[in-house]
């Protein structure tokens, strides 16, 4: 059977696309309220820290951020290709490494909380 790395790339991509669709709009809305100066109570240090201090909260934050990062990396790679940047191997390597480093950094930050 021919071996392919596509499922490894595609599963987090599809999962990330779904996570982005369900979660990202409301996250950006919360950020928008903070940008307007009306910081929602849930984004206060005490509340968000308490959420991130809980094991389940850590898992949710890491899951959303890591899957969104991976999906975005894959999509930006395709976007670069569609805009005529054909150095695909270089772009893919840089973006996937960035997504992996970002996910590991997020895990480390959450572990410290």
């Amino acid at each position: 059977m021919a071996k392919s790395n596509k499922p490894v790339v595609w599963f987090p991509f599809a999962a990330g696309g779904t996570v982005i669709a369900f979660c990202m709009p409301v996250i950006v809305v919360l950020g928008f309220l903070a940008a307007l100066g009306h910081v929602p109570p849930g984004l206060s240090y005490e509340n968000l820290h308490a959420f991130a201090a809980h094991g389940l909260g850590k898992l949710v934050l890491l899951g959303v951020i890591a899957l969104s990062l991976w999906s975005s990396a894959h999509r930006v790679r395709c976007t670069c290709y569609d805009f005529g940047l054909r150095a695909d191997t270089l772009i893919a390597t840089v973006l996937y490494i960035a997504a992996i480093v970002g996910s590991m950094a997020t895990a480390l930050f959450l572990f410290r909380i």
């Binding site: 696309g17 779904t18 982005i20 669709a21 369900f22 979660c23 990202m24 709009p25 409301v26 996250i27 950006v28 809305v29 919360l30 950020g31 928008f32 309220l33 903070a34 940008a35 307007l36 100066g37 910081v39 929602p40 109570p41 849930g42 984004l43 240090y45 509340n47 968000l48 820290h49 991130a52 934050l61 959303v64 951020i65 969104s68 990062l69 975005s72 990396a73 999509r75 930006v76 395709c78 976007t79 569609d82 805009f83 005529g84 054909r86 970002g102 950094a105 997020t106 930050f109 959450l110 410290r112 909380i113």
Partner: protein
Amino acid sequence: MSRRPLVREVPPTTWFFRHPRYMRYMAREVTSLFIGAYCLLLVVAMQRLSAGPVAWQGFLDALRGPGAIIFHLLAMAAAFYHAGTWFNATQKAMPLQIGEEFVNGSYISGAHYLVWAVLSVAVLFFAGVF
């Protein structure tokens, strides 16, 4: 006689101006840039949160201002456009068959929209927005 397959010239950077369908495709592609940037902002947010209350307050203060508002408006447009197109595509990506019949696609997309709305309202509620 040598075989010469037809290779149509496609301009690599301007091809999507040729057809509105390509433009819609590219509009969706561009949303990934804003969502990707927002993901990086979330990584920074986690770093600031782990660094303590002073760092977190500094992050919230840095988030204020006209530049941040414009960025958030663009990111919001991107996030909502991605969500809408994603849920519209679910009926094609995972058609549901019960017995002989396929379930009407609008029910599949509609169910996704419903879950999305409930989830978003729940997050806003627990974040104390209302």
